[in-house]
Symmetry: C2
Subunit: 465 residues, 2 copies
């Protein structure tokens, strides 16, 4: 299981001003946390509670269908192209980057065991899109278009382009190269999938994008590149069991949620830095950023009070970002908490050769990169402690499907608990609606004409110094 | 030239509480800014002022040597491997990603015009290193090891490994595959380069890593993959000329520095979000993060007062991160300023085909991705204005070597000006020294034994809940 160290956010290590009296706070919040966890687990099956993601570890049907389809197409495609943005891409990208051999897309087919290369088209930059079209042989490309609503402008415009090109190359057979992942009943993608006859996977109701990684949204792409999704599921289940414990002293999701919440409320900690010491986990912070930012960045609480809460999540990767962020973390304002992710055992042990012995770098020779990585991580941790900067550490026994299932699920639960502590709606995203409507207006969508006029004036003003 | 729009950080657009009275502030700070700019330009040649980077646009000798060497090795290598971390990697990575065709490393040799693929090994993760060794044919790999001091543990340990492997494969000829970029006189890399006979490029004195992109540190890798460094240099020169203007009303670096400074001091804006609307610029924020964080995150001001200043730079890319950060930017605490980078003309114009006309996504058909990108950017900007969130915009006419030279240099000057406004030492990084010493101790480097004992105790404590 994943281990959790919180002592470096406590007074014993970083002092009274910066640190929390953690044990006392655990007592203070014991009852509140007990209620929150009990409520999450009793509400998760009720419609409208948006907690269906808590059931994804037990969705045997989806797992079965994903594996069946994966077996069917095995070896048939050179490329897997994911059309999706935000929660429809970030989870699978982070997990595939962590579990596939490094530089996967550069390996030849044999080294990939005939599994496809994987591409995430998560932007609408015309230069990038043209570059991708130049690169990919679409005939050999399986396209997975992912959008719950079916109306995401970025994803659907990409899909229109790719569908058109595919059909031009393959005629009617083009549909064999397309899989849609969307809502079971609603939306235009579902409608098109039925009409055109695409293979379709469904996202269960009441799951928002950022909590969808363990639905077909994430599991299908991962299975298609050969990742063992049964192991992921086992990791979720074991973590879910552990996190059902309503005693904060035995629930690491509750512990980190509470520490982050109190740091925000009482210690002016406005940022949460996610810093895995592993290059394979380099996209994990991207997934965390969306989860934490979109879930907890809210204007109103559940009672309608204007609160404008939310910690800003910050991406980092160790040891690299010691040469970028550490100076600020140490000496800047004391307004960040660092989440270290420590990997206990890397898959490889690589030795630094014993050369240049009589120079000032001779001390490195004969040691391993593993030890250097661990030393740098410990140095950073202790240095932050010296500077009285709060930090916590998650210890991952190793990077595999099982422990990543645990890790991602743990942070989902942590986020849900934090949302309850803030007393906000964790699962909404009202702050992006206005911007979506503006885009519709600027793209001449019927029904948005009024807003287009108003926009023209605003646009003029905001480009005039 | 790059254009700059600041009005969306002013009271007229975002109101009195969140916005600045910008024109008045320009008046208030006119004299101070005049002095700062005059001082930068008069001090830049004086030793110890760490402003030598302001001369890099005029370093014809380096440009000449870089081009000569590039011509000499043209077509000889399939791969260029950069061993460097932080400032030794971030600039060249950001610029090469922006200027090379997308998916460069996946293109075959012909499409790369025989220029090499480019790899940045900027971490010490044993799994990543092993993956790279599995991938690369070292015989066909040109290795550029970059460290000013010559003692950077991450870079030199990588170098020891690669040198050992190269020598095993190539014997004495291995040295032809190595270029060292380091100090002209000091450090173990310089010593080794002389001893072993490596081709060497020098980093001028008094330039810190994060301001080194336009020395051989950045120019050599960029030239080696076929980027027109003369155009970059021209961009720097033209921007340098523009930024010599001591009148804040005609100096965009001073304008943005002042706005960021005042936002930090007076409006509680503790974060600076860098958000290019271009996928090709996706690593530009990484470079900016190091520049801004390490330069301005400081414990003491020049008079020795404890100030703990520094805005936290945040990486983002549009339109992607609308689906990740926008909710928090709009509804969270009003503690961030967003820097939009707008690209006026993309290289490609890509049309969304006119299909699915009678569905709810029909409005997209017949429009271009270019228009969609611009619409989303404008929607985000106006939406942030509605929420009274400060933002500024840099308009890049197009993404090419000339304008990237301008862009990077402009942010360097902005950072130097901001440092003067904060009255701190922009070019030091005292906050990372302690951590480096800890690493030496944990790696059993001779001379660090005392600190090792102390560390053992600290280490034990910081893993015990």
């Amino acid at each position: 299981m994943i281990d959790y160290i919180y002592v470096n956010s406590g007074r014993e290590i970083i002092g009274d001003e910066a640190g929390l009296d953690i044990e006392k706070e655990f007592d203070n919040y014991a009852e509140k946390i007990r209620d929150i966890i009990a409520n999450l687990n009793s509400n998760k099956d009720k419609p409208g509670h948006w907690l269906q993601w808590m059931n994804l570890g037990y969705n045997e049907e989806t797992v079965w269908y994903v594996k069946e389809f994966t077996a069917m197409v095995e070896g048939r495609f050179d490329n897997l192209l994911i059309l999706g943005i935000g929660g429809s891409a970030l989870g699978a990208r982070a997990i595939s980057e962590a579990l596939l051999p490094p530089y996967w897309n550069l390996l030849d087919k044999e080294k990939r065991n005939s599994f496809p290369r994987i591409f995430f088209l998560d932007n609408i930059d015309p230069d990038q899109i043209q570059g991708l079209l130049n690169l990919l042989d679409l005939k050999k490309t399986l396209v997975n278009v992912i959008t719950k609503s079916g109306s995401t402008a970025e994803t659907m415009s990409q899909f229109m382009l790719i569908k058109d090109k595919l059909e031009a190359e393959l005629g009617d057979d083009y549909r064999k190269n397309i899989i849609a992942t969307t809502d079971r009943e609603m939306g235009v993608l579902k409608q098109l999938a039925d009409q055109e006859g695409y293979k379709t996977f469904y996202i269960p109701d009441d799951i928002s994008g950022r909590f969808s990684v363990f639905s077909a949204v994430g599991l299908l792409p991962l299975a298609l590149v050969g990742i063992d999704i049964d192991e992921i599921i086992q990791g979720i289940k074991d973590m879910d069991l552990a996190l059902k414990n309503t005693d904060i002293r035995h629930n690491i999701a509750a512990q980190n949620a509470l520490i982050h919440y109190l740091m925000f409320k009482e210690k002016n900690i406005s940022m949460s830095v996610m810093m895995p010491y592993s290059n394979r986990l380099k996209y994990f912070p991207d997934w965390y950023v969306q989860l934490w930012a979109e879930s907890l960045g809210k204007e109103y609480d559940k009672n309608g009070n204007k609160v404008n809460v939310g910690q800003t999540p910050i991406k980092a990767v160790g040891a690299t970002d010691q040469h970028s962020l550490l100076q600020l973390l140490a000496e800047g304002p004391n307004n960040k908490i660092v989440n270290f992710i420590k990997v206990k055992d890397f898959d490889n042990e690589v030795e630094i050769p014993k050369i240049f012995e009589y120079t000032s770098i001779g001390y490195l020779g004969g040691k391993t990169f593993n030890r250097l990585m661990e030393s740098e991580e410990n140095s950073t941790r202790i240095s932050l402690n010296d500077y009285k900067r709060p930090n916590v550490t998650f210890i991952l026994p190793k990077i595999d499907a099982y422990h990543l299932g645990q890790l991602f699920y743990m942070f989902e639960v942590q986020t849900a608990i934090a949302g309850e502590l803030y007393n906000i709606d964790t699962f909404s995203q009202t702050g992006v609606e206005q911007s979506k409507n503006y885009t519709y207006a600027l793209m001449d969508r019927v029904g948005y004409e009024d807003s287009a006029e108003e926009l023209k004036t605003k646009l003029q003003k905001c480009f005039n110094n």
